[in-house]
């Protein structure tokens, strides 16, 4: 049994931290002070992805269908491998097109004494005349935990441990407050991996979080690009990251998230599971999360549909 615990936090105040995601390390540090030593040494934390609490519905690839007015404001059932990534994609493809999805999925910025922070709520639909028809949207942070020590009894964590975590910078000034909105556990071994079981298919890997290739952290070895990746022409984009621990800063060299490479390994289902639990250096703190997808499946559902229509329309384009 490989248990992960999904957690959804609601942002309560402005957030001043990494703009891409709340790092797993920040979440780990916030949790570590609230749990016993055994849990502290065994729990592994993913990066937290920002999710707008908005109207939306399941994209085609998911096991469920339909939608809800506050789709992003609660965790959704997880029955297949794809469901794990519903809220893990920065583009949040479940957002409804009948609302301004790009405005909902970009953060409102606030400047605090020269520091740029994200606002936890956004107001939409402001008619000059009517005071009461403003619509408020709140941001959430989705992440998950698992037990990397193997004992599997540190997860799930209690709700009161997860409630009231503070993340990001300027926490002593009231920034980065969160409250627990929802949590659920998922057994990775019982999920449906049928899209990855067809041996005829080829697969590609999407980097959900950066993959660390070099770290200043004591004892961390340099990593090369894994042999089971087949990078695309043009190469891989790299980005510097950093870990901050007790005031010490450790620079990390990473391969930037969001990129897609081919998959050249023999066992897609096993790779998919280890990709959820993350691979490489600092994987305990959220780095090295990868998602596997059949090459025939487009990341952009509308594009796949339009391409199919074009093809059906006749041979030449």
């Amino acid at each position: 049994m490989t248990m992960i615990q999904q957690v959804l936090l609601e942002l309560e105040s402005d957030y001043h931290g990494r703009p891409y995601h709340v790092s797993g390390h920040a979440l780990y540090r916030a949790l570590a002070r609230r749990v016993d030593a055994a849990t502290r040494s065994s729990v592994a934390v993913s990066h937290g992805v920002f999710v707008p609490g908005e109207h939306g519905g399941y994209p085609d690839e998911h096991s469920q269908s339909g939608g809800a007015p506050y789709f992003g404001a609660g965790l959704r059932p997880v029955e297949s491998y794809e469901d794990l990534f519903l809220f893990r994609d920065a583009a949040q493809r479940w957002l409804s097109a009948s609302r301004p999805r790009d405005a909902q999925n970009t953060h409102d910025l606030r400047v605090h004494g020269g520091r740029i922070a994200f606002s936890p709520t956004v107001r939409f639909g402001l008619p000059q005349a009517s005071r009461n028809s403003k619509r408020t949207m709140t941001w959430f942070v989705q992440f998950y935990l698992h037990d990397a020590g193997g004992s599997a009894d540190s997860v799930p964590l209690d709700e009161d441990v997860l409630d009231g975590l503070r993340v990001g910078g300027a926490r002593n000034y009231g920034l980065g407050e969160t409250s627990l909105k929802d949590t659920q556990t998922v057994d990775l071994d019982t999920l449906d991996y049928s899209t990855l079981k067809d041996a005829e298919r080829s697969f590609e890997l999407e980097l959900v979080s950066p993959y660390v290739t070099a770290s200043e952290y004591p004892g961390a070895d340099d990593q090369s690009v894994p042999w089971w990746w087949t990078p695309r022409p043009g190469g891989l984009r790299r980005r510097d990251e950093r870990l901050v621990e007790d005031g010490d800063v450790y620079e990390l060299e990473t391969i930037d998230h969001g990129q897609v490479v081919g998959y050249g390994g023999p066992n897609p289902v096993e790779t998919a599971k280890s990709g959820v639990l993350r691979v490489g250096t600092h994987s305990r703190y959220g780095f090295g999360e990868v998602r596997l997808r059949p090459v025939s499946e487009d990341r952009v559902p509308e594009r796949a549909r339009i391409a199919a229509t074009r093809e059906a329309g006749g041979g030449e384009r």
Binding site: P19, A91, S98, G234, V300, R317
Partner: protein, 308 residues
Amino acid sequence: MTEPGSSDKWYDQPQSPSTEVRPTVERLTDGGDASSSPAGESGRSKRGEDVSIVSVYRHDVHKSRGRSHENAVAEFAGVPVNEPVPLGADGDAALLSRPRGEPEQSVKNHSSPFRLSLVTGETATKVGRIDDGIGSALADLVQVEDPVEMHAAWLDSAVVSIFNESVYYPYTSLKFHTLLTAALVDNYRSGYGFDELYLVVDQAEGEGDPQVVPHRTVVVLPSFALRITGEPGERPGARLGAAPAQSWADVWTRLPEQPLAVEERMGRVIDAQLRRIRSWSTALQFIEESIGWWRVLQRSSRLRGDER
């Protein structure tokens, strides 16, 4: 899923610019591939060549008045506008920025041709003043006759960025929709299909400005330019994919090179936002606008450059 009646109309009729009503993305529900129906290479170039690229830049100027193609006037400031765009490029460019199907009003209480800004949340007219007024600035822009100057004028124009691409999708930008349309027309005329196109980064070299390729460059900033081309050469580029759709975040995150200054926090903030935006014209407008906003903040020293 295609009803030939509407989709074939554009292809079957002989060239008669300015009277033809072309399919718009609003009408694509009944003809999903209207803008992109199969067309042989030879037919394609023949049909494409006799429409001047200058008219492509003028094709949507009527949107500054919030008019649809059907109700638009044929002339503005003494030049023909609302002329059909060849090779279905307009429909393809529209699909890059707006969903397919019947348009829905996506922002309540805002059904105006003025764009809403993703940076400020305000109507774009409040952001900057247009010298000599909107009407005269628009007139100056559309009256340019030289194609290369026309492209440069659009890249540079502030007035067209205050309008949206559709009143139903107010965060989209008329400016970048038009530049994307021109880039598609130019690439299609060179024989490239949509699935052969790349988004390419042109970095500024030394003190000089980044390279601008007429009709292909879609946004230019002091430090870099973005271009849509079928011939990326040695430049870092990412494929646009098999068909036009709202896919900005997907293409941006796959670029092999990061054009923004991500060693500064604001660069990372803009990059993070761009990974969440799906509409192309909204995203290109956001790049231009947020980098301008960033500079203003830096100049007024409200921003710590080194802060991470």
